[in-house]
């Protein structure tokens, strides 16, 4: 099946009444959680995972999940611009100039250019996804256990190193995730591991309980500690359609943001946050008026918002073609596919073309829906910010509890989820980034299986990982990454000791 006919078939699936409805539902939920600070797309998809059990077809479930993910990127800009508070992590840099624009009475223009930039970038990235994904999936058909082991370990390492936090903490969380994935029956030898006599643990931890606990309830518990109150900018939104001058100022920022976002999104661990930061840095560096950045430059909104949308679409490429989720939200979509009995990876396009093309086509439709939802309805989204957290929090708890109970109809899962909630809360208290945890958990079985199969294949010779061309190249990148990070860390330490007294609060451990 060629790309064009595949896409046409995809549109035939995406444009059915049910799929359009779930695409719209995903876009609305995504925008809503993007608007609400303190609940990210990963947490929301985690909260909605049990619903995928009751949604009839896999393609419908994934269309809704995808809608939530890229919808959150659109919604995140609203709180950044109006409250100076990012609705989700990828909109952090939008606060800088977006809020300044709002204070100058140009909130409408900022929200408008964010929505239009998001639409253009999101659509361009889906075109890229349409073109790149099928050939990459075909290439990945040649992958054996050594290639998969090299790819998954490199992906996990990249997810830690690119997350921007402490690398040691990231690696600890990664290993914790791998160990959690090993709880229960060993798939090769049949031995029971880490269950301590509990029958409930013999089947291993369920991804839904882990995701809901760490990302859903963990976040709620942490937010409950906060005493911070925020004020919405009270100035009128004004016209949300940018003027010709705004468009002229931001069109190249949108184009650059789209390209940066697309390529950063493909890299595991890259994702929406890094792409928006990179886009902002590039816009400021190459601007003719860099002094305007931080004072309400429209390019400072257009670039990052375009980049984070492009990245959210392109991060589907490693998932759909290699079966490797690059970030926490995509790991939730990976789990949703597994719940539906579909293994993401190179065989997806051949075995489930309806899912592959249906989801891609729905992204074109979803981006149009989001543009329509975001421009005229921005005032409505702002009203949503007035829902008190005191009502929202217990409703989310009720939702997660019945949701996790419904997966297997046993209270044990609720206790498991509460254990993960406590873990997620402590992780935030100790400044651990929880993103590598679901990635390691979903990739853990693949890492272990491919490692042990590779060693069995080679008769115990570890050289198998470097003697085959693809795994060899991936392993070289893996080693270079570790060496590079170590050198970077040591050089920074050495410079600090010898030369400049850097302000202590900016210092970050390895």
């Amino acid at each position: 099946m060629d790309i064009f006919s595949g896409l046409l078939d995809g549109f035939a699936i995406a444009l059915t009444a049910t799929n359009l409805l779930f695409c719209l539902l995903g876009a609305i939920i995504g925008t809503a959680i993007g608007v609400l600070p303190g609940l990210g797309p990963a947490a929301t998809i985690a909260l909605l995972l049990p619903i995928t059990y009751v949604i009839g077809t896999p393609v419908t479930a994934i269309i809704m999940m995808a809608g939530i993910f890229y919808g959150a990127m659109y919604g995140g800009s609203t709180t950044s611009i109006l409250l100076n508070l990012p609705g989700e992590a990828a909109s952090v840099v939008t606060c800088i100039d977006g809020y300044q624009m709002a204070k100058k009475g140009r909130a409408g223009a900022a929200l408008g250019i964010a929505a239009i930039g998001s639409f253009v970038a999101g659509t361009l990235a889906v075109v890229g996804l349409t073109m790149f994904a099928p050939p990459l999936a075909e290439f990945a058909l040649d992958f054996g256990p050594p290639e998969y082991f090299a790819l998954t370990t490199l992906g996990l390492l990249l997810a830690v190193t690119l997350s921007g936090g402490s690398i040691i903490k990231g690696l600890i969380i990664l290993l914790f995730g791998l160990i959690l994935a090993m709880v229960g029956l060993d798939p090769i030898s049949g031995k029971i591991r880490f269950t301590f006599g509990s029958i409930g643990l013999q089947g291993g931890f369920d991804f839904v309980t882990l995701a809901m606990g760490v990302f859903g309830l963990g976040e709620i518990l942490y937010n409950l500690e906060s005493t911070m109150k925020t004020e919405i900018v009270t100035t009128k939104l004004g016209k949300v359609f940018p003027t010709l001058g705004d468009w002229a100022d931001s069109r190249w920022a949108i184009c650059r943001g789209s390209v940066i976002g697309f390529f950063v999104g493909i890299i595991p661990g890259g994702g929406a946050v890094i792409s928006s930061l990179a886009s902002y840095a590039i816009e400021k560096k190459y601007s003719q008026h860099p002094e305007e950045f931080g004072q309400g430059a429209i390019q400072g909104v257009a670039g990052p918002e375009s980049a984070n949308n492009a990245a959210s679409s392109s991060s589907f490429i490693p998932l759909l073609t290699l079966g490797i989720p690059g970030n926490a939200a995509i790991a939730m979509i990976f789990a949703a596919l597994m719940i539906q009995g579909i293994t993401p990876g190179p065989f997806l396009v051949a075995e489930h073309p309806d899912v592959f093309w249906g989801v891609i086509a729905s992204m074109y439709v979803g981006n149009v829906m989001l543009l329509v939802l975001n421009l005229p309805l921005v005032g409505l989204w702002v009203q949503m910010l007035r829902v008190p957290y005191g009502i929202l929090a217990p409703v989310i708890v009720l939702f997660t509890t019945i949701g996790v109970y419904s997966t297997q109809n046993q209270v044990f899962d609720i206790y498991a989820m509460l254990f993960f909630a406590a873990v997620g809360y402590l992780m935030r208290k100790l400044d651990f980034d929880p993103a590598p945890l679901p990635l390691a958990f979903v990739l853990g079985p693949l890492v272990e299986r491919s490692l042990r199969q590779s060693l069995l294949l080679s008769g115990g010779d570890p050289a198998i990982f470097v003697s085959r061309p693809i795994s060899g190249i991936l392993m070289v990148i893996f080693v270079l990454l570790i060496v590079g990070q170590t050198i970077f860390f040591l050089r920074r330490k050495w410079k600090r000791r010898c030369c400049v007294p850097v302000p202590p609060e900016t210092e970050k451990s390895l």
Binding site: I414, L418, P462
Partner: protein, 149 residues
């Protein structure tokens, strides 16, 4: 924060050592030709032990001045977690509807310190909404009511 981090680093190392010994003694490592169930857990345990020590050393070398922290209310997450545990237990014992109603009332009174009128309206509305969504719309089987058994 630093003391808390030092303790966590130490616990990480100890957990790593424990995982290594569990993998070696209970699960068995096998050989490099035929790795057994303890092979990867052993490697992960070893890596955790090393990372814990590396973290301790990094903390020792890093001089950090703590930024002034925002005032945080630790008792709210603790009380809400305890409420959630009680809710899990009550769901099976009392049934879904009664436990949900009691849970929301307790949450609004203990965690949010709301007035009774608001508490009761939130509790009734949220319980009805959950019941309508999950039981009627999504057909999720729920634990039956104690008084109706």
């Amino acid at each position: 924060m630093k003391l808390r981090e030092q303790l966590t680093a130490l616990l990480t190392s100890l957990a790593g050592v424990w995982i290594m010994s569990y993998a070696w003694i209970v699960l068995k490592l096998g050989s490099i030709h035929v790795p057994d169930a303890g092979f990867l857990p052993f490697l992960c345990g070893a890596a955790l032990a090393v990372l814990g020590v590396a973290w301790l050393l990094a903390l020792h070398w890093t001089k950090r001045k703590e930024a002034p922290a925002e005032k945080r209310l630790w008792h709210r997450p603790l009380s809400s977690l305890l409420l959630m545990i009680a809710y899990g237990w009550a769901m099976e014992t009392l049934g879904y509807i009664s436990s949900t109603l009691v849970f929301v009332i307790a949450w609004q009174q203990i965690v949010e310190k709301e007035k009774w009128a608001k508490t009761l309206s939130i509790a009734v509305l949220s319980t009805l909404a959950m019941y309508a969504l999950f039981v009627h719309l999504l057909k999720v089987p729920i634990p039956s009511e104690f008084f109706l058994r």
